[in-house]
């Protein structure tokens, strides 16, 4: 299984804080595409460039491979500081 977390505006628009999914995805981009198929909001707000991805708490590009047990997060561009 992989754990998928959503933060900030993304969590609010999707109405979803976290998911547990079987690890059927080769990489972060594969997971992103599968999630985007869940509905119009998912399609819009998870689009590459609109949200960032992290694998095991490190910022990751879509070609980063996924393994069972990984923690994945999607979130909007960061605005701290």
């Amino acid at each position: 299984m992989i754990r998928v977390l959503f933060f900030a505006r993304l969590r609010e628009v999707l109405g979803c804080e976290s998911l547990e999914l079987p690890c059927d995805f080769y990489d972060l981009g594969g997971l992103r595409q599968a999630l985007m198929a869940r509905g119009p909001d998912w399609q819009e707000f998870l689009a590459p460039g609109t949200s960032l991805g992290a694998v095991n708490q490190t910022l990751a590009k879509d070609d980063v491979p996924l393994q069972d047990g990984d923690e994945v997060a999607f979130f909007p561009p960061v605005t701290g500081g």
Binding site: R9, Q57, A73, P76, T79, G81
Partner: protein
């Protein structure tokens, strides 16, 4: 390593932070500090307060990586970073970065580098409260340009 990185709700004291950079530190001749505060006007909107959310499992790890990268680029003594989360009022302190080094050039550069990377990589998000409700702050292209300039 002389690094102190903290994510906290409570305020911090500039005096104490400066002292922690200076105390029993005879080899460093330069200390540069930056503190960020909550401004009343942001992106054309009048702000009443803001709330900072973060991704706890990632935040500390990310800031440690940023400090490690700064240490690769410059000769640094002590590095201290504090970032507040939760509800903040106008004028409140949000963030502190303090760096000591033998000479000022490295300390100035590292302090700015850490802030530029923190603003574009560390998983914090600001939500602003105004007279017309609340909204998430949009990331600024200018911040990304500043971070990219260090590459």
């Amino acid at each position: 390593m002389h690094d102190h990185i903290a994510i906290q709700e409570q305020d911090f004291s500039l005096t104490q932070e400066y002292q922690a950079l200076r105390e029993a530190n005879l080899q460093d001749g330069a200390i540069v500090t930056f503190s960020g505060t909550v401004r009343d006007l942001n992106q054309g909107k009048r702000i009443q307060s803001l709330t900072l959310e973060h991704y706890p499992a990632m935040t500390l790890k990310c800031l440690q990586q940023i400090v490690a990268e700064a240490r690769n680029r410059w000769q640094l003594g002590r590095v201290r970073i504090i970032h507040r989360v939760g509800r903040l009022a106008l004028g409140d302190q949000i963030v502190f970065v303090g760096v000591s080094s033998r000479h000022r050039g490295d300390a100035f550069a590292a302090c700015e580098f850490i802030m530029d990377y923190l603003k574009t990589r560390a998983p914090f998000w600001k939500k602003e409260q105004t007279g017309n409700g609340e909204h998430w702050v949009e990331a600024k292209a200018e911040d990304q340009r500043k971070a990219d300039a260090w590459k």
